[in-house]
């Protein structure tokens, strides 16, 4: 057989199969997705290195320079307490990323474990998990978070106070911990169901693919088959969902902070900055614009990246 013959055979135009390398190639073709990826990486950089990037401390007030429009000294202006808005927006980015990543990580983990077990074992366990999933999805998210928040926050706060009095460890006085653990724990608890459904469906479909039977016919062990044949092939749609989920989690965080049940002042969050800015936007529009634009930028970027990944990882889904 010559190389020529091989090429001729290749002309038969077989559909390409899911593949990371292929996916990356297709993603690179997609300008929107690529731009979004760059934006997200830039935002992530800001989030990680925020403390070294901010020109001012996000808490330091300058009561002489209140509500200033953008200047060279304060590129995004100052707020009503004379705090540097750029610094606060940067810290807000940090908050958004911490929340989005931790919420999505916990939700994905719950989803993977429950979904994979349900898909793998099937039967009664599967039915229970799916019932639990449907039930969680049927309750309005906001309501669930408010309920969890309202019922768990006071006892947790009391417990923290008691711990503080006992140990005098200042960590127990840190209300930010309560915010993060409670509010964002509850956010994770309401966002896992789609991941569980997705993982279950993927496991069910991949489990019966011919290459899994072929791998069994080679005598490979179950752990090897799961790790090298099932998981990598089931991962694509999950990556898409996680990318979109990160954006959703940021919106959710901002929404809750906006309503005062998320991150509380003085900790900056785009949500609570938007809430503050909204009260005075007629006079000081920059106080609203800065955080709102950041939120819009991040969520649009995540959503386009998710779309791009979806196209890249499911070539058959394209028109």
């Amino acid at each position: 057989m010559s190389d020529m013959a091989l090429k001729q055979e290749d002309v038969r135009g077989e559909p390409p199969v899911n593949l990371w390398r292929d996916a990356w190639y297709r993603l690179k073709q997609n300008r929107m997705a690529l731009t979004s990826l760059v934006i997200i990486l830039a935002l992530a950089f800001i989030a990680v290195f925020g403390p070294w990037l901010t020109p001012y401390d996000f808490l330091s007030q300058d009561l002489i320079a209140r509500n200033q429009p953008p200047t060279w000294a304060h590129p995004f202006g100052t707020d009503e307490l004379g705090r540097d808005v750029l610094s606060r927006v940067i810290y807000g980015t940090r908050t958004a990323f911490i929340v989005a990543i931790s919420v999505t990580a916990v939700a994905t983990l719950i989803g993977i474990v429950l979904g994979a077990l349900a898909g793998y074992f099937g039967g009664l366990f599967d039915r229970f998990v799916m019932w639990f999933t449907d039930m969680t999805m049927s309750v309005p998210q906001l309501l669930l978070v408010v309920v969890i928040n309202a019922s768990l926050k006071p006892p947790l706060a009391r417990w923290m106070e008691a711990q503080y009095l006992e140990t005098l460890n200042p960590i127990y006085r840190n209300s930010i911990i309560i915010d993060f653990v409670l509010v964002f724990g509850s956010m994770a608890l309401i966002t896992w169901p789609p991941y569980a459904r997705l993982v279950r469906a993927q496991v069910l479909s991949v489990r019966n693919r011919p290459y899994v039977t072929a791998a069994r016919a080679l005598g490979l062990s179950t752990p090897v088959i799961i790790a090298r044949y099932i998981v990598p092939n089931a991962l694509g749609p999950l990556i898409v969902a996680v990318s979109a989920g990160l954006g959703t989690a940021m919106v959710l965080e901002s929404a809750f902070s906006f309503l005062g049940i998320g991150v509380n002042p003085p900790m900056p969050s785009w949500g609570n900055m938007i809430a503050d800015g909204l009260r005075v936007w007629r006079n000081y529009p920059h106080l609203l614009l800065a955080p709102a634009m950041m939120l819009a930028l991040a969520t649009v970027a995540f959503s386009f990246l998710g779309d791009g990944l979806n196209d890249a990882l499911n070539p058959k889904g394209q028109k």
Binding site: V17, L19, T213, L218, G219, L220, Y229
Partner: protein, 336 residues
């Protein structure tokens, strides 16, 4: 490949029965199949879609899908019963002593793992080779199955190869550990006609080099004429005829076999649909008639065919030609 028969066949399947659990209770898919494969022999297994060819072979390696199970019989391979073997031991047989090549090379390779790694996998597991050794051997195997630029292909992903090349990779994987038996389940059905012939040729070549036994499942009697030594014809989960290949072609004794042979187009022009000279379709599992399963479609069926199923018996004069038909003797005479 005539010659002295070894006393003990390499694989001896006796009275294998397989059932599927359905809503209306169990349905028999495979009903008492017996067949043997001698050392170095190539056995063709033919029959219409749904007659149980794949499940018979999958059951030997414990690979039956959910709800389908072996309910009786034995499969002695190298002196051990595959059907009664503990899972641990069976896993060593899989890929180690029996290689399996599946129908669709497009979906039978893992799309996210490089070709080389997939060829190496059985070597790493069954032969405990180091990665370097296994990689070297994988390159040799790809060369053996006639893949151009074998060494470079190791780092390709399956989708970078054409269907024919992928099926060669599957064959390389199946043969990686020098198995005594290679089971190929319609390995060419998914390929272009010209490439089908290439695959048959490469397998012939490999058989000459390696001397393994082969079970080749197919619909296509014409394709395997020059490849197999003996043919077993299945119909609705039973063996209806078992004969050396030249005998079967010249002197088919079962009306079903004759129908299959008649449906081979004389002119092998591409695009010609396979003519089916047998009217009707095979019965669904669980709906098979009490007598001969082929009776409803049989041109020469008579009253006794509907009462009892004929046993698989040597044709008059003994010998290796066995048929399950009440009218077998008469047909054979008429043709001869």
């Amino acid at each position: 490949m005539a010659g002295e028969k070894p006393q003990e066949p390499l694989l001896n399947v006796r009275d294998l029965s397989i059932e599927v659990a359905t809503r209306n209770g169990p349905a028999r898919i495979v009903d008492g199949i017996s067949l043997t494969v001698d050392k170095g022999e190539t056995l063709g297994v033919v029959g219409e879609s749904g007659c149980g060819k794949s499940l018979t072979m999958l059951s030997l390696l414990g690979l039956l899908p959910n709800k389908i199970s072996v309910i009786g019989g034995s499969a002695i391979f190298k002196g051990r019963d595959l059907l009664a073997m503990p899972h641990r031991e069976l896993r060593k047989v899989r890929g180690g002593e029996i290689g399996f090549v599946f129908q669709d090379p497009m979906t039978s390779l893992n799309p996210v793992v490089r070709i080389g790694q997939q060829v190496m996998e059985p070597l790493l597991y069954h032969r405990n080779m180091s990665r370097a050794e296994a990689r070297k051997r994988a390159g040799e195997l790809l060369k053996l199955v006639g893949i151009p630029g074998a060494e470079e292909r190791l780092d390709n992903y399956p989708h970078e190869l054409s269907g024919g090349m992928r099926q060669r990779v599957m064959i390389a994987i199946g043969l990686a550990c020098d198995p005594a038996l290679l089971i190929a389940d319609e390995p060419t059905t998914a390929l272009d006609v010209t490439i089908q012939a290439q695959i048959v040729d490469i397998v012939k070549e490999l058989r000459a080099k390696l001397g393994m036994s082969i079970v080749w499942i197919t619909h296509d009697l014409a394709l395997i004429a020059g490849l197999v030594d003996r043919v077993v014809v299945l119909y609705a989960g039973t063996v209806v005829e078992d004969a050396p290949v030249d005998v079967l072609y010249e002197n088919p004794a079962h009306p079903y076999t004759r129908g299959l042979l008649a449906s081979i187009p004389r002119l092998k022009d591409e695009g010609a649909e396979k003519l089916s000279s047998i009217g009707g379709t095979p019965p669904e599992p669980g709906r098979r008639p009490a007598g001969c399963a082929f009776a409803p479609r049989c041109p020469i069926a008579r009253a006794e065919c509907e009462r009892a199923a004929p046993a698989l018996e040597p044709l008059k004069g003994g010998g290796p030609h066995r048929v399950a038909c009440f009218a077998a003797g008469e047909i054979a005479e008429a043709v001869a």
